[in-house]
Amino acid sequence: SYLFSFSFQQRIEIHKLRQGDNLILGFSIGGGIDQDPTQNPFSEDKTDKGIYVTRVTEGGPAEVAGLQIGDKIMQVNGWDMTMVTHDQARKRLTKRNEEVVRLLVTRQSLQKAVQQSMMS
């Protein structure tokens, strides 16, 4: 048997949680066109300057909605996130007047060969 990876896209809807004066989503982002792409542990291509999810807080809105660590965020509410700076990405995710954000994420997945599953 052998492993191969492919990526598939997923749409995730996160409802922000109110904590005091802030609306939080419950995850951390890394990356951006002004950052160093070679230090990104989640990207497959080390020149990829996209925005990646680096941490997901337990029990937070992002985890509940199904966001996983290592996901690459392609769009936020229709805004493209593949060619933005780190600060622009943060701003787009933390708009005060939005309570729900709809993300388009790309996730890499490892699958065992189909053969093995057919044989077993």
Partner: protein
């Protein structure tokens, strides 16, 4: 027998200062003092076989000789067997005979060469003077008078001859430091050139001037001046050929000693093989640690054990297949489960630990001994004249406290035959005189030094043979290999050419050094 007497005196001096040691210990310790330095050329040539006394001793195998100096020798040894004190082993016979036959033959060749060169040199030097003086002597009255011009030329000839004399003395009149197997090609060429040159000048002079009794004295003097000028140019040629050409390094030479693999690299210019061998040997005495046969016994015993493992008997009678037999033996040896690598590992680790322990004891003993000595300043010297000692006495006073530790260390590192008690005392007084610290005193004993550091008798390498597949007067080439053999070991020399270096340049504008910050920040949202 005078040598024996001398050694006896050193032993008695030693036992006087080490009064605390017991008789058995003293006997054991004395065994390792080698008074060999007094014996001159008879070092390690006498073998006495005795059964050992109570204390077992290291280094008592093979070649170490012993002339019993202790009074109690007869009482404590159980038997004294074997040959007389002056027996000589087989190797030593070979060595002595080689020494004798080589020293006689080559000296004649060397002296012949020197006399030829000296005679030629003298002739060449006197030639211009002869050219100038002969017309004056033979037909003085017919000569045209030649005033200031000739006098100026006389002065220039005199000074040029003086310069030539000084230059020749500086270049050629040196003590030969080596005896090479073949003649120097360049020197021979130069001698031939000078000879032909001067011969042709004399020929011309004899025919055109002497026979015809030329009256133009100025012309004759200018002829002599031209000879001196040409001689100066030949001297310049000699400098370039003999001295300058080999200064620029063109070859790198790797020298490996055959017995223990110690290797060094040297850079040489264009030299003939024999001169390169000379350079290698001169550097050998300074760079390589001294050859110590006692260090090779371990690997020899291992080799003997490998060979003794299998015996092959031929049961099929004559007509055997010899190569098949040896191959079978090697294959069987390879398959046999051998734990000798294990032994080697543990033995080496053990030895290492033992050496370090002994070394620590030695360093402490020496440091303590040195604290007992204090140098007296000039004013203090008048105050207490009774206690003053000169360096030799001071050395003898502190030696006993470190003697045992030093001897044990030398025995463990198998260096004991290189250092006699007398040499240690001399070195100690030398160190005391020059205000050296204990570490500086010990530097000579902790690690084996180059061959030059030791007594000439301890060198195993005095007579060398150059073994080469190419003529020894041919120049060095890339890939040439030659071997310098002496009786006990050989130096294998491998010549490699220094590669042609292509160097290109690159200009960097000092303003072009610019940097950018690379971040990887993480923000929580």
């Amino acid at each position: 027998m005078s040598a024996a007497m001398d050694t006896e005196s050193t032993y008695s001096g030693y036992s006087h200062y080490s009064g605390h040691s017991k008789k058995a210990h003293r006997q054991g310790r004395d065994r390792h003092k080698s008074p060999r330095s007094k014996d001159g050329s008879r070092s390690e040539k006498s073998v006495t076989i005795q059964t050992p006394p109570a204390e077992p001793l290291l280094g008592n195998d093979a070649s170490r000789a012993e002339e019993g100096q202790d009074d109690n020798w007869g009482e404590t040894t159980t038997a004294i067997t074997g040959t007389s004190e002056h027996s000589i082993s087989q190797e030593d016979i070979a060595r002595i005979s080689k020494d004798l036959e080589d020293s006689v033959g080559l000296d004649c060749k060397r002296y012949l060469g020197l006399t030829v060169a000296a005679v030629l040199g003298l002739l060449v030097f006197l030639t211009p003077i002869a050219f100038i003086l002969l017309p004056q002597i033979l037909w003085r009255d017919d000569l045209e008078p030649c005033g200031t011009v000739c006098e100026g030329l006389f002065i220039s000839v005199a000074f040029k001859l003086l310069i030539l004399l000084i230059g020749t003395w500086a270049l050629f009149f040196r003590q030969p430091k080596a005896d090479l197997p073949r003649v120097f090609v360049f020197r021979a060429l130069l001698l031939v050139l000078i000879f032909l040159f001067v011969f042709s000048y004399w020929l011309f002079y004899g025919v055109r001037i002497l026979d015809s009794k030329d009256t133009n004295y100025q012309g004759i003097v200018q002829y002599a001046v031209s000879l001196v000028d040409a001689l100066l140019f030949i001297h310049y040629l000699a400098i370039v050929l003999l001295e300058l050409r080999q200064l620029q390094p063109t070859f790198t030479v790797k020298v490996v000693r055959s017995t223990d693999g110690e290797s060094r690299y040297y850079s040489l210019g264009h030299l003939s093989i024999q001169r390169a061998a000379l350079v290698v040997l001169e550097n050998y005495y300074r760079d390589f640690t001294v050859y110590n046969p006692a260090l090779l016994t371990a690997s020899k015993s291992r080799a003997a054990k490998h060979m003794a493992g299998l015996k092959v008997y031929n049961v099929d009678g004559p007509g055997n297949n010899a190569s098949g037999q040896s191959r079978a033996m090697i294959a069987a040896a390879a398959r046999r489960r051998d734990s000798s690598h294990n032994e080697l590992y543990y033995e080496e680790a053990d030895h290492e630990r033992r050496v370090r322990k002994r070394r620590a004891r030695l360093v402490v003993a020496v440091e303590e001994a040195f604290t007992h000595i204090k140098r007296l300043q000039a004013e203090e010297q008048q105050k207490a004249p009774g206690e003053m000692m000169d360096p030799r006495e001071a050395a003898q006073a502190i030696f006993p406290s470190m003697a045992r530790a030093l001897q044990k260390y030398l025995r463990t590192t198998r260096q004991q035959q290189y250092h006699s008690m007398e040499s240690i005392l001399q070195h100690l007084s030398f160190c005391i005189t020059n205000n050296m610290t204990p570490k500086a005193f010990l530097e000579r004993y902790l690690n084996p030094g180059p061959t030059l550091q030791y007594d000439r008798d301890r060198w195993f390498s005095k007579q060398w043979t150059l073994v080469s597949e190419e003529a020894v007067t041919s120049g060095l080439q890339d890939g040439v290999v030659f071997v310098l053999k002496c009786l006990d070991f050989s130096l294998v020399v491998n010549v490699k050419k220094i590669p042609f270096i292509k160097l290109s340049e690159e200009f960097i504008d000092p303003k072009s050094h610019k940097f950018v910050l690379r971040l990887q920040s993480e923000t929580s949202v």
